[in-house]
């Protein structure tokens, strides 16, 4: 086993440990910071897989932007609630994912080697904007919709009681029908949905 693979394995182990710390840390802020550390290490993993573009993206978006957002959200709410016991037994909480992943690993490993070394069909940019044009376009729309959604969620202070007061704003039917003799048995017996 050469040095390169050893470093690679170490990076992965480090990322996994950070991830473990992130989900087990009692404080939310600590948890977010461990997530950032896991992000940096996985960015290095991506770089070692000779995917520098994704490494940069992961470093800036995953480790940078998302961490800032997490810290912002945690500070915004001052919500450092103590950890409460999980809703489902710990055995299932750990056992189910473990079983699923061991089975997945058994299915995909060892990796099949490609019959002939495939030729690279294009650069990152041509593949993203050419071959995956629809995905990229949809993503642009998604980012737009996401921004609108966040704005809507954060600014909906006025409608806090939206859940309860819909009955007050109920509009009576403009043309109330004095139950004409209709032919077909209607669904009036059913409860409104």
């Amino acid at each position: 086993m050469n040095l390169e693979v050893t470093v690679f394995i170490l990076l992965l182990v480090g990322a996994s440990l950070c991830a473990l710390m992130a989900i087990s840390a009692p404080q939310l802020l600590t948890s977010a910071l461990w997530l950032a550390a896991a992000s940096v290490l996985s960015a290095l993993v991506l770089y070692a897989l000779s995917a520098p573009t994704m490494a940069i993206l992961e470093l800036s978006v995953g480790a940078g932007l998302v961490t800032i957002l997490f810290v912002f959200a945690i500070q915004y709410e001052q919500s450092d609630t103590p950890a409460s016991p999980p809703l489902i037994p710990r055995l299932i909480g750990w056992g189910l994912p473990l079983a699923a992943l061991i089975l997945t690993g058994a299915l995909i490993l060892p990796l099949p080697t490609p019959e002939q070394p495939a030729v690279e069909v294009g650069t990152f940019a041509t593949l993203l904007w050419g071959s995956r044009a629809l995905d990229a376009l949809i993503q642009v729309g998604l980012i737009f919709a996401g921004t609108l959604g966040v704005l809507g969620i954060l600014s909906s202070r006025k409608q806090v009681s939206m859940v309860t007061d819909t009955a007050d704003t109920a509009q009576p039917d403009r043309a109330p029908l004095p139950a004409p003799p209709v032919l077909e048995p209607t669904l009036e017996g059913q409860e409104p949905l």
Partner: protein, 560 residues
């Protein structure tokens, strides 16, 4: 012209709907909705030159989706124009009809209407089967949400659910057909249907799947019972969606794919049979109800039956012409009925009467629409209905022609009855009413003008006129109309046979079957509600458990 203009009929209303979502004052919302709808009408007019020069809007969408093609031809330009122009008139009408609604409900109303208008244009313009399905379901969704627009009215909620479930049954047929085509031909464009990879069996499955979809969408015979229940929607919605546009989507599907399926054994016969039964069934529904809007709904079922029969008989051009005419005069009738209902606050014809003197303009326009519906000469309904009857005489079995002629008589009878009960007679225990407000007048007068003038759109009008006037079936049909109106004038006691007719309607109409399918859907949804704990952790645990199961199945399957 730039082919990108083809997208205008879809984009203008959608952008307008988005803008409306951000507004607050009701006046502004009304104004923006009317402006958008009129702008869309003008933008859609561009489809006429675009379709003449065979413009194509091509959007490359990756390997799986292929290329999205939006290309107007005469059929799609016609349907898109109907959606845009009647949509604009319905929106203008709504300014008065929805007067006094609060801004949140108004936003929902106009947003859905504009989303629908854009979706309808997209449905007829696209050349991609999956997009066709997308738009098909989009208009069904808008229709559902607008039928159930008054959610606190149980009848409206139930009507909306019924419409949704029954059109979904058709949607499944459409989806199966589309996936069968796409799976075998490897292509989702319309020309994939002509591909030689489709075996005759598969082609038959696709053809009848599309037929089910079209019948459910157009409220044709086994699926017709959702349309009368859909009349709980605000009346401009009934005029736009349930008379002029969405219910025509089924006819569009049949017209569009008629050349593909015409050779399937039994396909055209099935189409004609569905049409004829719907003509009679819709006529009976219209004859036997006291609810003004249900009369019009039954009449819509019946007129769409004529369209199905015409397509089945191979008279595509006559069907297109009657589709246009029906959209205009039925839109007019619904809007006129809406004006009356708005003034009187009731839909029961027993509580109307004598409106003629109080609302002369509504009366005049409604009368023009009624005469066109009956098929009185010079008005547009006359020409197209005679063309359909003529096609039936030359291409269909005799009994189908006979049934269609009987339908003409029933139409005259129920129309006479409707007009007499609403506008003649004396005002019964009700407050006096005034003439409709300005917005309603504009919409009514425009549509009445359309009823008179729409035959002038025909390129070969002279040929049609000589053809219709020289055909013997025209005289026969006019005689039957007189007979039907005469029976109405005599006021024969229909109530005597009402019980019998009711039984006929219930047995033949498969109403119980429709009701059971809706109730089954509701029941299964209710039954599954228990699984919906709303606790994130439990849901996720179930997801991971399912993943584990899937992996076990894959492993075992791989080992076998």
């Amino acid at each position: 012209m730039n082919p990108i203009l083809t997208a205008l009929p879809i984009l203008i209303p959608w952008i307008g709907a988005l803008v409306i979502m951000g507004l607050h004052r009701t006046r502004v919302i009304h104004g923006v909705a009317v402006g958008t709808a009129i702008l869309n009408g003008i933008g859609t007019l561009l489809l006429i030159p675009l379709s003449a020069e065979h413009a194509q809007l091509l959007i490359p969408a990756g390997q799986f989706w292929g290329t999205w093609r939006f290309s107007p031809d005469s059929l799609s330009a016609l349907l898109s124009l109907i959606a845009a122009i009647i949509g604009a008139l319905a929106v203008i009408f709504s300014v008065d009809y929805m007067h006094g609604t609060n801004s949140a409900d108004l936003k929902r109303y106009y947003g859905l209407v504009l989303l629908f208008i854009g979706g309808m244009s997209g449905l007829v313009l696209t050349d991609h089967l999956l997009l066709l399905f997308f738009f098909w379901e989009l208009v069904a969704l808008c229709s559902f949400a607008l039928i159930a627009y008054y959610p606190h009215n149980p009848a409206a909620a139930a009507g909306g659910v019924k419409a949704l479930v029954i059109t979904q049954i058709g949607g499944i047929g459409l989806l199966i057909g589309i996936l069968a085509v796409g799976g075998t031909a490897g292509d989702f464009s319309f020309k994939a249907l002509h591909s030689s990879a489709l075996t005759p069996t598969l082609k038959a499955a696709v053809g009848f799947g599309f037929l089910i979809a079209a019948a459910a969408k157009s409220a044709q015979f086994p699926f017709h019972s959702w349309l009368p229940d859909a009349m709980e929607a605000p009346t401009p919605i009934s005029a736009l969606i349930h008379a002029a546009t969405m219910v025509n989507a089924g006819v569009y599907l049949m017209l569009r794919f008629y050349p593909v399926f015409v050779d399937l054994p039994g396909w055209t016969d099935c189409l004609m049979l569905i049409g004829v039964v719907s003509v009679l069934m819709g006529g009976l529904i219209a004859l036997l109800t006291d609810d003004l809007k249900r009369v019009l709904a039954g009449s819509t079922i019946s007129q769409l039956g004529y369209l199905f029969s015409a397509v089945g008989a191979g008279a595509g051009a006559a069907a297109e012409f009657h589709l246009l005419n029906h959209a205009i005069f039925k839109g007019l009738l619904f809007l006129g009925a809406g004006a009356v209902i708005h003034a009187l606050h009731t839909r029961d014809m027993g509580h109307m009467g004598g409106v003629r003197r109080e609302m002369p303009l509504v009366f005049a326009t409604f009368l023009i629409g009624s005469l066109a519906l009956v098929g009185v000469p010079i008005l547009n309904g006359f020409w197209s209905k005679e063309l359909i009857l003529e096609a039936a005489v030359s291409h269909a079995p005799g009994w189908i022609t006979g049934a269609l002629l009987l339908g003409v008589g029933i139409t005259a009878l129920y129309t006479y009855r409707m007009v007499r009960r609403v506008f003649w007679g004396r005002a019964q225990d009700r407050a006096p009413v005034h003439e409709a407000p300005l917005g309603m007048k504009i919409a009514l007068i425009t549509l009445a003008g359309g009823v008179v003038l729409s035959p002038l759109c025909l390129p070969d009008l002279g040929v049609v006129i000589t053809e219709v006037l020289s055909a013997p079936v025209t005289l026969l049909a006019l005689g039957i109309i007189l007979l039907g109106a005469g029976i109405g004038w005599l006021r024969l006691p229909i109530s005597l046979s009402k019980g019998m007719l009711q039984a006929l309607d219930r047995g033949l109409g498969l109403t119980p079957l429709n009701r059971i399918s809706v109730q089954l859907t509701n029941l299964s949804a209710e039954g599954l509600r228990g699984l919906h704990t709303g606790v994130l952790t439990l849901n996720l645990a179930a997801v991971v458990g399912a993943l584990t199961l899937l992996m076990i199945i894959l492993l075992v399957g791989g080992a076998l």
